[in-house]
């Protein structure tokens, strides 16, 4: 028997154009999801946390990471066991009305996020003296073309590089020469001195790290990857590694701003502010790296968010979806995808547009949507008919219900603070 042949690596690659999600899945759904999570809004929040509170809130990233792992693990497990996306499961389980309202809210929040990403593109390139009237249309065109016209392999390379470029934040962190003993101190013996301001900041950190779209995206990516049940442990590892990476990057952003802006008492509102303010304090390279990281993150998220939104909506509604289909075969898919990118970019180009209300509404919707989706997820994952033997174990359920409970309370508080109640 030709043992050697059976052992031989299959040389012939037979992957097919089956949804952009498929190729993303090859690189690891968990890692990609987490990296997209560090988008323009996330970077802004981490910068503010560092600039306003120094390393004082660094410890909070660790419980946030644990919560992120718990939530994402549920998404991944449901994806592997049922082979269906989250919107599909919600549709089959809870009917049309709930699905349509959820998807509607998801489109709105994601649209807000897409606008934020294009704002990130505009402001990061303005640091390099590129006016937004050039950078934003160009970015929108590139993002749109990558998915609609792009060749699979070239797109894959672009996205994998995008993940690598998050390293810029770690380099920037070292360039800012943080006080490592203070870092160690805050991590080992965190100070829980709570002011209403720092509590607000922590809630903001949670809100930006655990977003509704991630649950949909991660599960869809896991499903596209056709992961077998026996390979689930690899999938879980992927989720854990991804959450770990996102926390490390976030930590370095906080560190960079803590070591520079916090010391000199500079207050920032956006990631681009932070990048600009870094120049005189930590050198132009640190500033440029910070801005470049922002550009990379914004572009990355601006590519994935509209795509994932279109996928999730079409899946829930039963419409054809996938980049391998022609426009006439999947009009809703391409329509929604294009509309999100087009209007997301166009809004940024309106002269004198106040971006704050847009972000604000998007954050409010995020806060409203997250608890609902988390509760649905817990109901679904504990459904015996759906998950068979893979429902949560009792101890695990206590942890996940507690996590979700805490997150729900935090979202409600966050929402209250946003609405000024």
């Amino acid at each position: 028997m030709a043992d050697g042949i059976l052992n031989a690596e299959p040389v012939r690659k037979r992957s097919r154009w089956k949804g952009l999600l498929l190729f993303l899945a090859v690189a690891g759904p968990g890692i990609i999801t987490s990296n997209v999570d560090n988008d323009a809004g996330g970077i802004a929040t981490y910068s503010m946390a560092g600039a306003h509170f120094g390393t004082n809130l660094l410890w909070s990233l660790i419980p946030i990471m644990v919560a992120l792992i718990i939530i994402q693990e549920m998404s991944a497990r449901m994806g592997v066991v049922t082979g269906k996306g989250l919107s599909d499961l919600i549709r089959e389980r809870f009917g049309v009305k709930i699905t349509v309202s959820l998807l509607f809210a998801l489109i709105l929040t994601n649209f807000g996020n897409v606008i934020a990403e294009f704002a990130g593109v505009a402001s990061s390139l303005e640091i390099f003296h590129v006016p937004k009237y050039v950078s934003v249309p160009l970015a929108a065109a590139v993002v749109w073309l990558i998915v609609v016209k792009g060749n699979y392999r070239s797109v894959e390379k672009i996205f994998l590089w995008a993940c690598v470029f998050y390293v810029t934040y770690i380099v920037a962190g070292f360039l800012a020469k943080p006080d490592w003993t203070a870092v160690g101190h805050t991590l080992i013996a965190p100070s829980f001195k709570m002011s209403s301001e720092s509590l607000g900041m922590i809630i903001g950190l949670v809100g930006t790290t655990i977003a509704p779209w991630m649950q949909f995206y991660l599960q869809a990516a896991v499903v596209e990857k056709n992961i077998a049940l026996k390979d689930y442990k690899h999938c879980r590892l992927d989720v854990i590694v991804g959450s770990f990476v996102v926390t490390i990057v976030a930590g370095f952003i906080v560190l960079t701003c803590a070591a520079t802006l916090f010391k000199t008492g500079i207050r920032v509102e956006t990631a681009a502010d932070a990048a600009l303010a870094l120049a005189p304090l930590a050198g132009k390279y640190c500033s440029a790296l910070f801005a470049f990281g922002l550009l990379n993150a914004s572009l990355f998220a601006a590519s994935i968010l509209p795509l994932s939104t279109a996928f999730v909506v079409c899946e829930g509604m039963g419409w054809e979806a996938g980049v391998n289909k022609k426009f006439s075969e999947a009009p809703q898919f391409y329509g929604l995808y294009s509309v999100l990118i087009f209007f997301g970019a166009a809004i940024i180009l309106i002269p004198g547009i106040p971006l704050f209300p847009v972000m604000y509404i998007s954050q409010v919707l995020n806060g409203l949507l997250l608890p609902v989706i988390l509760v649905f997820m817990l109901l679904l994952i504990n459904n015996k008919k759906l998950m068979g033997a893979y429902t949560g174990k009792r101890a695990y359920n206590v942890i996940s219900w507690t996590t979700v409970g805490v997150l729900v309370v935090l979202s409600v508080v966050y929402l209250g603070s946003l609405l000024g109640i």
Binding site: A2, A8, P10, S15, G83, G95, V96, G318, L386
Partner: protein, 431 residues
């Protein structure tokens, strides 16, 4: 059946429109003959088997009682738009809901779920279910998969129609598929087997290429249950058409071992070999051991060729005839060939040692005199490759000469297999 003519008229009267949508019935209050409230309609149960199956019973969520209660459809007196009223004494007929294997719950197992449209060879999501009142029966006739179904269930239909009429003088049309073309899929882990829509166009009448697309689009559970429902030959052809090797492996692993090896035997040897090469070694060995000897030997032979060589592309299903045989004898032999030939474009002519000496075509067999020996009309100038030849060179040969098939010979020019245009096209499309 205890239904009187009278009540049929009543039902017809109450519903001038004979068709009705499941979403309209769902949640309607159920009242007794005296008008006392009993509960709400939670589901309808349909017995599969007929072309347009009948609703056999309704599932009611009773007030202040847990679980769903089943009642025979015959106990329904009147189906008017506000409430469903029961016959006198019907309440004794309530029993806890139970679903047999040839029955299906419309809400639990059909509404909002994916189904296979065997006519269009596509997967659709059920937005609503269209029912028809025939005599005293309620029959399942259509599946609504259009946007109208969704809008109707949201309760916005009137608003939408008004808006589109006003703006575009247009109304979004219904999109329905007749139930006879619908293959429902199973809804959960509880039931392992597919409820086959027995009177419908059978699922294996769908072309294997379309079946492969459908299977690729389905989730894991439905995927393996559809695959299990296929007969061996359809399963083998479908597996050949599935393009993701990981999915091929998953499907063959989901089948019981003896069925898996039967399917592999049905597959073209080169396809089966590729699949076996992708399987974990232990599993592949086990499957090969249970295969019939001839198939196993062919595959063992093919497995020895490295990926990216002519040998890995070739199949051993070809038609060869000795050069001294007559046309008539060749036709006889061709008739006796039982295994499915991948390509019948060329008839290969060999000498007594099995060495390839020429090629003829099916056309020659058909139009020439029956007593002419093949060597007289064969073309002795032919291009062939060795099994070790690089696959890229093979592709170039196909491109240059526009062959339908290319013979593969060993160092002594003995014919060992052929590479068909189909194999090359598959390679090229996958690049």
């Amino acid at each position: 059946m205890a239904t009187s003519e009278n009540s049929i008229v009543e039902i017809l009267d109450a519903n001038v429109n004979l068709f009705l949508f499941f979403s309209d019935i769902l949640g309607r209050p159920v009242v007794g003959a005296d008008g006392a409230p009993i509960g709400k309609i939670a589901d309808l149960k349909v017995k599969l088997g007929e072309l347009f199956p009948r609703v056999s019973s309704l599932a009611v969520r009773k007030r202040r009682q847990k679980g769903l209660w089943e009642l025979d459809w015959q106990q329904v007196q009147d189906l008017n738009s506000n409430a469903v009223s029961l016959r006198a004494g019907a309440e004794q007929g309530f029993r806890p809901l139970e679903v047999k294997n040839d029955e299906i719950l419309l809400r639990d197992e059909l509404l909002d779920k994916q189904v296979v449209d065997t006519f269009g060879a596509k997967i659709e999501r059920v937005n609503d279910i269209h029912l028809l009142i025939v005599k005293q029966d309620l029959r399942l006739v259509h599946i609504d998969y259009g946007i109208r179904g969704i809008i109707r269930r949201l309760g916005w239909l009137r608003a939408l129609d008004a808006a589109t009429n006003w703006l575009f003088a247009y109304q979004i049309g219904e999109k329905m598929i007749s139930w006879k073309f619908i293959q429902p899929l199973l809804s959960g882990l509880v039931r392992g087997s597919l409820k086959l829509n027995v009177t419908s166009r059978k699922i294996h009448e769908i072309h294997p290429s379309d079946l492969a697309d459908i299977i690729e689009e389905l989730d894991t559970l439905n995927r393996s249950s559809v695959f299990r429902a296929l007969d061996l030959q359809t399963a083998a052809q479908t597996l050949e058409e599935v393009e993701d090797p990981k999915l091929q492996v998953a499907l063959i692993e989901s089948a019981p071992a003896d069925r898996a090896s039967d399917i592999l035997e049905e597959m073209a040897p080169d396809e089966a070999t590729d699949l076996l090469a992708d399987l974990p070694e232990e599993k592949a060995q086990r499957l090969m051991r249970t295969m019939e000897k001839p198939s196993r030997e062919v595959i063992e032979g093919l497995l020895q060729f490295k990926e990216g060589t002519a040998g890995s592309l070739m199949t051993t299903d070809f038609f060869a005839v000795g050069k001294d045989r007559t046309i008539g004898e060749a036709i006889e032999e061709f008739r006796k060939t039982t295994y499915p030939l991948e390509s019948v474009a060329y008839i290969y002519v060999t000498d007594k040692d099995g060495r390839l000496v020429g090629v003829s075509t099916l056309r020659h067999l058909v139009i020439c005199e029956r007593d002419i020996p093949l060597r007289k009309l064969m073309n002795p100038h032919l291009i062939s490759v060795t099994p070790e030849e690089d696959a890229d060179i093979v592709k170039d040969l196909f491109k240059k000469y526009k062959f339908l098939a290319l013979p593969v010979v060993d160092e002594e020019r003995r014919l060992t297999g052929i590479i068909t245009l189909k194999d090359i096209m598959q390679e090229r499309f996958e690049e």
